[in-house]
Symmetry: C2
Subunit: 246 residues, 2 copies
């Protein structure tokens, strides 16, 4: 699908030009990076989403030194995170800000957002919750979302390093598309799956502690004291593919 | 070894009573939890540490709304984190504080510190860097420490949930003690070891971005908006062992 077609389908849902462009960019970027569950498969998802309100606007409901609270107010998680990123870019953290966003869902490929902030020279750590899909390695009902952890590390001299790790061995999108079986959606790590399960639980608890028992995202963003890490690591890695590289 | 013997050996190194009690409690807690690499094996390590200065005191060198910088100033990482925890308990975050600590090493079992903060009713996320021991899954020299991520989640009605996940498949202590071979010290995850490697790189970059190219720790600590997560999860887990349980 060419970008114009993607844009046209999103505009047809009633989104304003700027929002449609942002959503199209997110889906097309995910396609280019092979993250198909966050890509164009999301167009029919949006088209069938009950109660989609393309006019809804996220709101910054509290703002203090080093901390903000946002509410999606019916806006998509993508557009909520975009508004948060724009707010950070317009008013840089001094030196650190933590932002908690309630009802922020779906959030897409978290690496997309921390890459944007890294390109603005910032270090960013982002997590977001999703429906419970990961059960305890010993069994029982799903207790935690696949809750990815994304970390963006700026690089003044080249490409940032962009970590984006889901705690699931496969994605829910893979299950939906038939690329993976439902029983493969377990914490990653094989014999050490208890580690990824623990991380998923911890991130779920962090988010719920800050936004309550609902979907949410938590972002830590900072102006680096030392912006040289990504360049140093690229030097030491001597050409090895690093997290986030195409 | 009984607690009195542990205390006596630490006091013999010149530590003040309060510091010796704290170090002994950390080592004995690690022993009880089976984290032997952070336990009494650290006594001979301390006794042979070149340049150990039992009188050194960590210092809070910058403090603003929501952010603090600390320097170990030659103090052990354990005592630096203890001073940071005491500072947080004496002046609670409102609602969030991020703390970066330079030269903070060794830090022991990170779960110990976030459990302490969780028992004070706070949600806490802590990471710390260690010497590079994890190579890229495709080979090359070690590029990142085992860089654990610990998350403490308070529980007014019972035991907190305490996540403490090292990105290594085994610990360096296991290698030193002969319980694991050096070639087993790789990112955990088996076929998906690139995920734990990415997390180790991301956490290393976060810490170095905030403290520069040296050892350090980064803590995010918050007063929860919703302190019910741990109790809710324990209810849903119906008796399954959760992260941090004995």
């Amino acid at each position: 699908m060419v970008p114009e077609e993607v844009l046209a389908r999103i505009r047809a849902l009633g989104f304003a030009e700027e929002d449609a462009a942002l959503l199209a960019d997110h889906f097309l970027d995910a396609e280019r990076r092979g993250k198909l569950g966050h890509g164009l498969a999301r167009l029919p998802f949006l088209e069938s989403l009950p109660g989609l309100d393309p006019q809804a606007r996220p709101e910054r409901v509290a703002s203090g030194p080093g901390f903000e609270r946002w509410e999606a107010r019916g806006a998509l998680g993508y557009l909520t995170l975009a508004a948060i990123c724009a707010g950070v870019e317009a008013d840089l953290p001094a030196p650190v800000r933590v932002i908690a966003a309630g009802d922020c869902f779906p959030t897409g490929a978290l690496g997309y957002w921390v890459r944007r902030l890294a390109r603005a020279g910032l270090v960013a750590v982002l997590t977001a919750t999703s429906p419970p899909r990961l059960a305890h390695p010993d069994g029982g009902e799903p207790l935690a979302g696949t809750n990815p952890l994304a970390i963006g590390l700026p690089n003044a001299d080249g490409e940032p390093i962009v970590v984006d790790v889901s705690m699931g061995a496969v994605t829910y999108g893979d299950v939906l598309s038939g690329a993976a079986r439902a029983e493969e959606l377990v914490p990653f790590g094989g014999e050490q799956a208890y580690k990824a399960f623990a991380l998923a639980v911890g991130l779920q608890g962090l988010v719920e502690s800050l936004v309550g028992e609902r979907f949410g995202a938590v972002l830590l963003v900072a102006q680096p004291e030392d912006a040289g890490f990504a360049a140093r690591l690229r030097g030491r890695a001597a050409g090895l593919r690093l997290p986030g590289d195409a």
